[in-house]
Symmetry: D2
């Protein structure tokens, strides 16, 4: 399988990890979900991210799931595998076999224990790169809201200079638009930058220099279309489309609850056989489901309206 | 002046604190801003909240500003004054004179140093109530994203039971909809609940039992109108209106940057003579201002479109 | 093997996890270390605690190490196994087999993700007890300095009431003496309380009602003797002995560095074949080793002096 | 008054802030306490540090207290004034008048809001230096356990290079010995380094290159004597003396409770008229006071023993 390079672009959807109603890993469901994503024409897949409930899997389950996904994707799109772990031994025990099995890259987020200043983050990554292998391309995740690890522009610059195998940044700081502009301006080499946060700032992020999105919004076709419209320079059309989805993007963008929202919508759309999340995870109440149903109906109506307008 | 009661409803706008270009407190600007808010028919005002840059004022400045606002409002609407401080001596030194001068209530958020479990939060509030006076109505702010102090439903219940002078909750947890429903269901007495977070979930919060909003979104007339449509049972119209503003609500809802966004929009709308924030505060870059100008133009166009439609 | 009960007393030494110079798990070294500890007459053993570098082992390594220790101890003393993990699946995957293999109990510390108030901690433990099995006795670790999870006296009381299988508290808050007294006074049932923090407050903790120590100070014979002197009511002799070791206890009690200090002293004492710690872990510099050598020489001299005095 | 320079050495005792039993500031008590400290031959004084309960004073009280101390000291020793504040306006409002009144320097600790990486800390200090004045010498406090702001050796190096007015480091990281050695080795200019943490590592810190201590241990004469013995090269005698006090140093070194311990001992020694701390602060229980009385008796006995031995 081709390795990920700093030229990567487009939408790498963060894939959910399917469980059945008993909480068991649903490997067949994984195939179905992957087909759903590929049917939406995403450019890549990311598995075992935070929204993939990675920490809730045993190490054996994580390995099994990753290998199954890689087999099913079979090289059609690049697959990034999240390998954040409490220790480097566990990180290596996942990263080595998935790279061997054809993963395009692994994704690493420095943990809170590394949040002791810039040098500590660099020290952590030095050890992590040794664990995954110097030739393994990796995606650096910058998501301080979840990790409590702040990374300044100059730190990201130092990381890019120090580690040639860092080919991509998952930019997920918030607020992050000016930071994104600054990273683009400062880093003296090509680095792919995909953005997260459910895509809630995607149109502006593209205008600031992002190469696409790495997030798991349950309508990935919107992310793909927003990137396409941006590439064609149709800014107003891009925002028009995006804003129709924004009420749902916003609803999904609730820390903690977002995962359950996302799985519910994916289930309603037929992409998942079961919307179950593994404990510990907030469950959707009746009221939340009703709100989501309402928002989905309103979205459909809005898209219908748009279709009619564009026909007329 | 009438004191705040647990029956309070509507929109209590969080007022910005105006500075001039040198960073000095602009007391005349305060009058102009208050007039702008009152012209949007808000039901109340909150000053010296976090978005009021309270920690950046000296204690003397905070007192002077609060007294000036109270004088200018002169009882037309209730005014809540944020009195969060590093110590109880400072808290009392602000709370006592503003209550005397006619403030309807004070607002308190337990600080991170109190984040040692439920009992520690209660202990903190016991001392705070002693500092402000047992007869002084207070608003409890629940904003864990900023304060790092988690407050569960059962803790809020204990607080409501323990302190009769706690008349209002500024509900700003995120995600917070189910929590809001649970608080409403569990608390055995009347408690006014206003919501924050820039209003980004306001329609759902009203449906879950909130009494209104306490936030500083730069178009407070939208918050007022959403509450009115909700009260009349016009849910679809409520969302239709809200969703037009959502792109701006979302843009303003950036931790840290949001204050600069808000002041810029208020300045563009003529409510502020100067959009300056005091250091330390992120400043708006050229790119951010251009994005905001674009979003404001799109909002105007959308509102224009709506007006035409409703006429037609 | 007998299960741990709320009547447990004495010194449960936190065992180091031996690695060889390449960083590989040294299972033979484990046997040698266990023999060292049992030779110091400890009443129990705790493995895979934080000072046992548990997060640095893969799940497979942790299981192998625990089973090897249980085999070697072979029922001579009760063994507690730390099973804190990022997810409940991983926790169950370690807890179930070690209990089957004769572990006396498992140890759980609520993680930072549970630090959302008292109810969140209880919710976490409910799920954890389901994962390990309701019949599995467990030790609750209260170590907020490392975990960032505050647990008040009333929360610990609720935990003791809710979970009959919680038989022991590893009390490691700091400051903790008054809390210990309060826990003893408030909890309406028998609960074994062992204390941590390297033993730095052990004499006072015993006077406040602790049943012993669960810590890994590299001279466990001192901890055992302090408990014995306390039981005999010889308070001055207890402090006289303790204070001779205090300079080393203090030196070992350095967050982060303490593990390397402990392994170095155990190695110097012949209990470990190799003082290596797995990355990430601070290493001892030349200067630190010289300071430790000096402190060990001073301790020997002081003990020699005491022996002569007691003979005279 | 002479300004503090990077050549400062010795013991700068952190002075307690005396309150009377009602919680009111006791300005006369301040004079008595200062006399006690000067009688112990300390080389300097630091007021309004964290252990000086600075955040519990109103801004007006802090100013009044500082001016009173400066008047009473009247140039006999240099006085450092802590000016950490929530905002720069408040910082300037304290720093400017105390420098004018003869303070030798001010002390600044970057607050948690600045804990966003190395650049954020530098940005904070740039604004702080502007607030206090570029000519005002300042002490940088590095106390991450309390501040949650990590500062690496290379960050401290950058700070020393950037701000010529940074003349002293209050080194209070823990563990900190190797960091201290590294700072001394790396920083290319003279910088005074005094250490904190109640002095619990003072002998080693001196050996690693510290210039003295800045801490408030209630027996400052021990800190002074340890520095003297170190300067004379009498290492064993230095440790012999230090170890006699270590049980009390350790007891005082309890985060949160330490302040009450310190004030109690100062009161028992006649240095304070009243041991009261302002809320919020843990109070000493009967049991804690009994433990302290015991430790003080044991210390006296030990010192008596030493005197006899040295006479014999």
């Amino acid at each position: 399988m081709t390795k990920l390079t700093a030229d990567a672009q487009g939408v790498f959807v963060i894939a959910a990890t399917p469980f059945d109603a008993t909480g068991a890993l649903d490997l067949e469901g994984a195939a179905r979900l992957i087909d759903f994503y590929l049917g939406r024409r995403v450019q890549g897949l990311t598995i075992l991210g935070m929204m993939g409930e990675a920490p809730k899997l045993t190490e054996a389950e994580a390995r099994r799931f990753a290998l199954q996904v890689l087999r099913h994707v079979d090289g059609r799109v690049p697959v990034v595998v999240g390998v954040s772990a409490q220790g480097f031994a566990s990180m290596a025990a996942l990263a080595r076999p998935v790279i061997e099995a054809g993963a395009a890259a692994v994704m690493i987020q420095p943990p809170q224990t590394a949040a002791r200043g810039d040098d500590a983050v660099l020290g952590y990554l030095t050890a992590a790169v040794e664990a995954i292998g110097e030739d393994t391309p990796f995606v650096l995740q910058d998501f301080p809201l979840a990790s409590s690890v702040p990374m300044s522009v100059s730190l990201i610059e130092r990381i890019a200079q120090t580690f040639p195998s860092c080919v991509m940044l998952k930019h997920e700081d918030w607020p992050g638009l000016d930071k994104l502009s600054a990273i683009r301006a400062r880093i003296g080499r090509r680095l792919s930058i995909l953005t997260g946060n459910g895509g809630i700032f995607l149109p502006f992020e593209l205008m600031r220099g992002a190469d696409g999105a790495m997030t798991g919004f349950a309508y990935p076709e919107m992310l793909v279309e927003v990137c396409r419209l941006f590439a064609r320079g149709e800014s107003e059309a891009m925002l028009d489309l995006f804003d129709r989805y924004l009420p749902l993007v916003r609803y999904e963008q609730q820390p903690g609850l977002g995962l359950a929202v996302r799985k519910y919508v994916l289930w309603r759309r037929g992409a998942l056989a079961c919307p179950a999340t593994r404990d510990p995870a907030p469950k959707l109440t009746e009221a939340s489901r009703a709100e989501l149903d309402w928002l989905m109906r309103r979205l459909e109506r809005s898209l219908e309206h748009q279709r009619k307008e564009s026909v007329a």
